[in-house]
């Protein structure tokens, strides 16, 4: 057998192992109740509760934005995001949060929003990071 063939096989093996490992890095979309149990960083998908007020007062704290979100099970939870308020969140039809539970509030490190464009049914996705978590 040629050397290159041996190395080729070895590298393919590495690639397969790598792809398997990648999926340990990936996670699943979960709900607030799961987040409460797990206490780890995860994704929660849901909708903004538009009946409750959104709080962002940059004069007192430019890095705190809070709102209420209902997850796909209908559980409602207060979300606190360390960062400026994403501009279009009122119009969002779906929100994907990254973060973890802290007591009764969910602390988001990232907000990914899907908003309907005003004039047609196209959706626009926006992603906002709270960089405080990344450092």
């Amino acid at each position: 057998m040629k050397k290159s063939s041996i190395i080729l096989i070895a590298i393919i093996a590495v690639a397969i192992a790598m792809i398997l490992v990648i999926y340990t890095d990936s996670s699943t979309y979960s709900t607030f109740s799961e987040a409460k149990e797990k206490k780890t960083e995860l994704y929660v998908v849901g909708q903004l509760n538009k009946d409750k007020a959104l709080h962002y007062d940059p004069k007192t704290d430019a890095n705190k934005f809070s709102f209420f979100m209902r997850d796909n099970d209908g559980t409602e939870c207060e979300v606190i995001f360390r960062g400026a308020k994403p501009q279009d969140i009122e119009r969002s039809e779906q929100i994907v949060l990254t973060g973890k539970m802290d007591g009764n509030v969910f602390r988001a490190s990232k907000i990914l929003m899907k908003c309907p464009s005003k004039y047609n049914d196209k959706s626009v996705v926006t992603e906002i990071n709270a960089t405080a978590f990344n450092n």
Binding site: K64, G83, D88
Partner: protein, 819 residues
């Protein structure tokens, strides 16, 4: 019932649509004719038809573009595309970028470049023309079908850029014959795309994508016509060109991300970014294996496979970005226009072509039975290409999670922190690739003297170690092992290539191109690493004051800093002040002054004003910020507005002057009974009632014999020692009582002289004060990117290296052709 619509320009759309159908038909005809021309090379008529069809297609593509541009440029908002992507306020150069904001426009761009490349091939490809053009025209037909927008058997194929707004939407206003008069302006271009990089980045990127069909077509054509060995020479300049252009396009995208996007950096492993880098990696690998084959005869299959898969991956990338499949994970993918089925077919057809040719012709491929020597360049080039391919597989696997979810119905979420996830894998691969690129320079094709090789390698390694230590010390990256390793590997690669370049100066110019490209890539990698490793958010509140207690115990104060107009804040080494804003519609520019002050002398060592801007675009979702950057040789300071007082934005909409009563700007008035000589206070100072003026007169109102007209002399002293005199007037005319107020605008004061009370011996005045203007404020974020110039510098050097290589390979091919 049909409505006779008023004012529509239907002709351009009909012309455009005609040319779309023509371009599709011509591409198909050209494909079929080239197919038979390759099969029956002795019959010249096939080739003739194919060429005529090609030129018909070329003319149609140009005509489509011209028509679409005419529609957008003239703001014909009866067309959906013009309405959705442009507006009257856009300057011409952004009208150009609105041209490819939509998918239809970007498909056109791809077709256009393919036409340009096709015409070059028609003149240059000579004996390869028929077989190569078969695949180019097949691809061209697929692209035309994406914008054809016709319904066949109830199935809509493609999405035409020429559909009318009233066809695109079903809302009541389209039942009105003169609906056009109601549509005053278009939707406009997304503010993020209103950047000069967006004028040139998409065309470059699409030229890169389009040019990847050429190596594919050569490789496939070679297998088809059994000209196994020849294609590599002919395709090599094309492959280098594609790699160069695509690389430049990707980096331009990262310039755009850095300068216009607000995600705080130049690379974020966004799925759309990944989609463009995947084929780049495989084609880079392909180029190396092609060169290795050329010089040694080894790895024919790998070279062919990589050249082919690169184009299949281009189509896959466009499926990823255009089908809406990334909807939940990407910020900037296109949305589904209902052509994902078509895109899958496009992808599958080219994948099948690849698989069929590779399996059917496997046995006939030129394969050397000889084993490669460990001390040979081709062996390690092959290994390097494999490592690149595996790196690429990692990116594909992680980016494709949403695709797998769609196929298998699973609900796997992508990694929580994509940047970290990709960096973790890719930095490992980068170290291996750079070390390979380094020591391979000391090897010769086929066989190298191992003693010589080891000596020069070890020498370079030692020098690299010393240099790495210095770089790590100066950039302060000593805490991160993987960054140190990458820096080391890149420096080693640069040094090794500088040695080759040194030989080039002595006369071996042949190898200069590749070494320049390698040096450029090394610089780029060091720049990216250092900037990524050491960029820091500097807009951290230094006062340590945290407004919300409790919650912040475990948190750092955030990255956004609040600034009130005129009130300086210390931020790291800078004192920063928000000194005001200016409006250049539709943008508001916020002036942020940075000052560096010497702590001992108190002197300003350095100052500059950054003007990040934001667009309050209701249609696109509120305030969208565009950063401003101060460039230094060693680092950049990047500033982005994340929120701003609504007031400074609202100045766009001024209340028309005639609607004003003159009092709405003031607070509730205060009424005072005063005597001459009284002193009263107001918010910003005091005023003295100085006396009555019985000689007062008013223009336009003549004083009658029985009328009373008295002025009250008031002197205002402001806190900053300014004096103003003002004289409100009291008038009794024909039995009626009037008063004429007077303002001190500078102080926001308005006085009325409303009465004379002889019984009390008092005068009555009313004083209006303007509320203190609310101070303007902004919330912003500032990031420092050290040594980012390595990144940009590396890009330029790399591109120069590619150009040198293309010139060299082209000459070689010509020399061969002459023999």
């Amino acid at each position: 019932m049909d409505v006779n619509y008023v004012g529509e320009h239907l002709l351009p759309g009909q012309i455009g649509q005609f040319f779309i159908v023509l371009s599709f038909g011509a591409a198909l005809l050209s494909f079929i004719s080239y197919f038979f021309a390759t099969k029956y090379p002795e019959e010249n008529s096939w080739k003739k038809i194919a060429r005529i069809a090609f030129w018909t297609n070329a003319v149609s593509v140009v005509a489509i573009g011209a028509t679409l541009f005419y529609i957008i440029y003239n703001h014909l908002f009866e067309y959906n595309y013009a309405w959705a992507h442009s507006s009257k306020t856009l300057p011409t150069y952004y009208i150009i970028s609105s041209f490819w904001e939509g998918q239809e426009g970007s498909f056109w761009l791809w077709m256009f470049w393919q036409t340009v490349l096709g015409s070059v091939l028609l003149f240059k490809a000579k004996s390869w023309e028929s077989s190569v053009m078969t695949f180019v025209m097949l691809c061209q037909a697929f692209l035309a079908s994406m914008i054809i927008g016709v319904e066949i058997f109830g199935l809509r194929i493609g999405s035409s850029p020429f559909i009318l707004l009233r066809e695109a939407m079903d809302i009541p206003i389209f039942r009105e014959a003169n609906y056009l008069s109601l549509i005053t302006d278009g939707n406009g271009l997304n503010p993020l795309l209103q950047n000069y990089w967006m004028v040139i980045h998409p065309p470059t990127l699409f030229l890169g994508f389009a040019s990847m069909i050429v190596p594919f077509a050569y490789a496939t054509g070679a297998l088809w016509t059994k000209r196994y060995k020849e294609w590599i020479n002919a395709a090599l300049p094309w492959a280098l060109f594609a790699v160069m252009i695509l690389g430049a396009g990707i980096i331009m995208g990262s310039f755009w991300a850095y300068e216009a996007l607000n995600f705080g950096g130049f690379w974020a492993w966004d799925p759309v970014e990944n989609a463009s880098i995947i084929p780049w990696f495989t084609l880079i690998a392909a180029v190396h294996v092609m060169i290795a084959y050329k010089n040694s005869g080894h790895s024919y299959f790998t070279a062919t496979f990589l050249a082919m898969i690169s184009f299949v991956l281009v189509i896959y990338a466009s499926y990823l970005t255009r089908s809406g499949v990334l909807g939940e994970t990407s910020v900037h993918s296109f949305t589904d226009l209902g052509m994902s089925g078509q895109l899958i077919l496009f992808n599958v057809v080219f994948l099948v072509i690849m698989v069929v040719f590779l399996t059917v012709k496997k046995k006939e491929m030129p394969i050397t039975e000889k084993d490669e020597d460990i001390y040979s360049r081709e062996f390690w080039m092959f290994i390097g290409a494999l490592v690149l391919t595996v790196a690429c597989a990692q990116i594909i696997a992680s980016t494709s999670i949403p695709v797998f979810n769609k196929i298998f119905g699973t609900k796997v979420a992508p990694p929580l922190d994509p940047i970290q996830h990709y960096n973790k894998w890719q930095s490992g691969f980068a170290v291996i690739v750079m070390i390979l690129t380094g020591f391979t320079q000391f090897l010769k094709y086929k066989r190298t003297d191992s003693r010589k090789f080891l000596a020069s390698t070890v020498a370079s390694l030692v020098v690299s170690l010393i240099l790495t230590a210095a770089v790590v010390y100066f950039t302060k990256t000593y805490t991160n092992l993987i960054y140190i390793l990458i820096t080391f590997a890149s420096i080693f690669c640069i040094l090794a290539n500088i040695r080759v370049l040194g030989d080039a100066v002595k006369g071996k110019w042949k190898l200069a191109g590749s070494s320049v490209a390698h040096i450029g890539f090394g610089l780029l990698l060091i720049g990216a690493m250092v900037a990524a490793a050491t960029n820091e958010v500097i807009s951290v509140n230094n006062t340590g004051y945290i407004a919300v207690s409790g919650f912040d115990k475990v948190e750092k104060p955030g990255d956004n800093l609040f600034l009130t107009e005129g009130e300086p804040v210390q931020m790291g080494e800078y004192k920063i002040t928000y000194i005001g804003d200016s409006i250049v519609a539709p943008n508001t520019f916020y002036k942020i002054k940075y000052e560096r002050i010497d702590e001992e002398t108190g002197k300003v060592k350095e100052h500059f004003v950054l003007q990040p801007f934001a667009q309050n675009n209701a249609k696109m979702g509120g305030l969208i910020g565009t950063p401003a950057t101060k460039h230094y040789v060693t680092h950049d300071v990047y500033t982005l507005i994340t929120a701003a007082a609504a007031e400074s934005q609202a100045t766009h909409a001024k209340v028309p002057a005639e609607d004003k009563t003159g009092f709405e700007d003031y607070e509730e008035p205060a009424t005072y009974q005063v005597n001459i000589g009284d002193t009263l206070r107001y918010r910003n100072g005091y005023y003295v009632i100085e006396g009555l003026n019985k000689e007062a007169h008013l223009e336009k109102i003549p004083k009658g014999p029985s009328d009373v007209m008295v002025g009250l002399k008031i002197k205002v002293f402001s806190a900053d020692n300014k004096q103003y005199e003002v004289q409100p007037i009291y008038l009794i005319k024909d039995g009626g009582v009037y008063d004429f107020n007077k303002d001190v605008n500078e102080q926001g004061l308005k006085f009325r002289f409303t009465g004379i009370k002889p019984d009390k011996d008092k005068l009555e005045i009313m004083v209006y004060q303007k509320p203190l203007p609310e101070k303007k404020w902004v919330v912003f974020k500032a990031i420092k990117f050290p040594y980012i110039n390595f990144f940009w510098c590396g890009t330029i050097v790399m591109t120069i290296g590619f150009i040198m290589s293309i010139v060299r390979r082209n000459k070689e091919e010509k020399r061969k052709a002459l023999k």
